[in-house]
């Protein structure tokens, strides 16, 4: 056994000694990257221009205006990204007793100024609208100024789509269960290569052992880090809960997904959104579906 262990260690040790003896960097690659950098920077500027033009001073924004101006898609997080002189900060909104959501923070900008950001979001459920007020106070000597660019974080949950076993890569399921119909199921949470999106997959294994893969949703990975608790109720409602922080100051993010067995993608889609929306109502969540902005 020791000799075998030495064999593995020795092999890995010999590999560890392999060093790249080429140049410390590739100038041609750098040149190519710089060209691509310039191109992507230009396209990003164009992408941000309408938002910057519209976002000066104190902003009061309606959901309808957002949707019309470029389309908020299926999920909105209760985080607001506020950009101040090119520097982005994320403000987390907490539910208030009156049903609104508020958040504030103070940050130091790159030039040393302090910026105090306050966000208040109110919803008019009857009208299917919400308003958001963003205030930024810059400590600019004697003068308080406001110059804000606001963008809503938007995520396309995508609705259920068929996947392949390849989509699962090397991942291991975070939860396995047997459905009420006696079918073996598994849930996978897979972050994409850039760490940007967290894809929620389920698999169904039939009696012959064939595995069908379905992607239920795509979430912003940065908001759903760590190891979640997963449970599935008898109706197939999948609850995924991420917790962080210490007891008493715990930060909980939870989503609930209904994996609807339907041959009609449109039906499945609507039911998924409805299930999410309903699930969010009574949960300390940071994600909420707004069906009125979905299309």
């Amino acid at each position: 056994m020791n000799r075998d262990r030495d064999m593995v260690d020795s092999a890995l040790g010999s590999l560890r000694s392999v060093q790249y003896d080429g140049p410390s960097y590739d100038p041609q690659l750098e040149e190519r990257l710089m060209k691509e950098f310039d191109q992507t920077t230009v396209s990003r500027r164009f992408a941000h221009r309408p938002a910057m033009a519209a976002a000066l001073g104190i902003l009061v924004l309606g959901g309808g205006a957002f949707a019309a101006g470029g389309g908020i898609q299926y999920i909105k997080s209760l985080f607001v990204t506020v950009e101040i002189d090119g520097q982005q900060v994320d403000v987390e909104l907490q539910p208030q007793a009156d049903g609104s959501h508020e958040g504030e923070l103070t940050t130091t900008l790159a030039d040393g100024r302090d910026a105090h950001v306050q966000v208040r979001k109110t919803e008019n459920a009857d009208a299917g609208e919400h308003e958001m007020r963003v205030e930024v106070n810059l400590d600019d000597g004697d003068q308080k100024t406001q110059d804000v660019n606001v963008s809503k974080r938007r995520v396309n949950v995508g609705g259920p789509t068929n996947g392949t076993i390849e989509d699962l890569g090397d991942a291991e399921p975070v939860h396995e269960w047997t459905s009420a119909q006696g079918v073996d199921r598994a849930l996978y949470l897979i972050t994409d290569e850039a760490g940007e999106n967290l894809n929620v997959f389920t698999t169904t294994t039939d009696e012959a052992g064939a595995i069908a893969v379905k992607r239920l949703a795509t979430l912003p990975a940065e908001r759903f880090e760590g190891t979640p608790e997963v449970s599935v109720d008898d109706n197939g409602l999948i609850s995924i809960k991420w917790s962080s922080g210490e007891a008493g100051n715990e930060n909980v993010r939870q989503i609930k997904l209904m994996d609807v067995a339907s041959d009609n993608p449109a039906t499945m889609h609507v039911e998924l959104k409805a299930a999410l929306d309903q699930a969010m109502e009574d949960s300390p969540v940071k994600v909420k579906v707004h069906p009125e902005d979905a299309e």
């Binding site: 000799r3 075998d4 262990r5 030495d6 064999m7 593995v8 260690d9 020795s10 092999a11 890995l12 040790g13 010999s14 590999l15 560890r16 000694s17 392999v18 060093q19 790249y20 080429g22 410390s24 960097y25 590739d26 690659l29 750098e30 190519r32 990257l33 710089m34 691509e36 950098f37 310039d38 992507t40 920077t41 990003r44 090119g86 890569g169 090397d170 991942a171 291991e172 972050t191 290569e193 850039a194 760490g195 940007e196 940065e222 880090e225 190891t227």
Partner: protein, 225 residues
Amino acid sequence: MQLAIPIPQTHLTIDDAEAALVERAKRDREAFAILYRRHYGMIVGYILRRIGNPHAAEDLTADVFTAVLRYLPRYRQRGVPIKAWLYRIATTTVNRWVRRQQRRSVIEAFFAAMRGPTDGNGAGHGGNGSVRHDLPETDAERARLALLELPPKFQTVLSLHYLEGLSLQDVAIAVGCRLGTVKSRLSRGRDAMRERLLKSRPPEADAAGGASGPSNVPPKGDVSV
């Protein structure tokens, strides 16, 4: 899980200066160039140790930094140091390449089997459709081939921990999975690698070591590089 030889451990930390550089690199081409130059060696070295071919390693490194350029604006620190993030992208890139090579190797091996053996020891095929590498000549080469035969998830944790010297916690961050999963993969990966090393042991090693089993059989399922 203990190594007989010490591994220089690298702890990935979130350094303020580096964090500031990363933020600037999202908008400033000069900062991006610094970021690129600073980490090029780390990435190309990692990929080279994984796949062994310097030219392919350079090509894959170019793919990695192209992906970095594309995704950097969305990168948020949040407990994932930039080095871990870069390793994550490099790992995905290499694993994709490995799977492609493994699939190609299987297909080529199938057609080679249909053609029948072309030499006495079955170690290689000249002419149309070479299916396997030359026999490994050095310990490093033999180790690399044994490593490349493993499922990519084992290759990843073995490489990041034993070759790159990342702590298990940092491997978990870089791979994006739980610490327990990393430990499990490390243990199973070592067992799998031991099996392959035993199969690929050269004749003189068997004679000296007295081990039984095949002595001149090249590694199964070679990966062409």
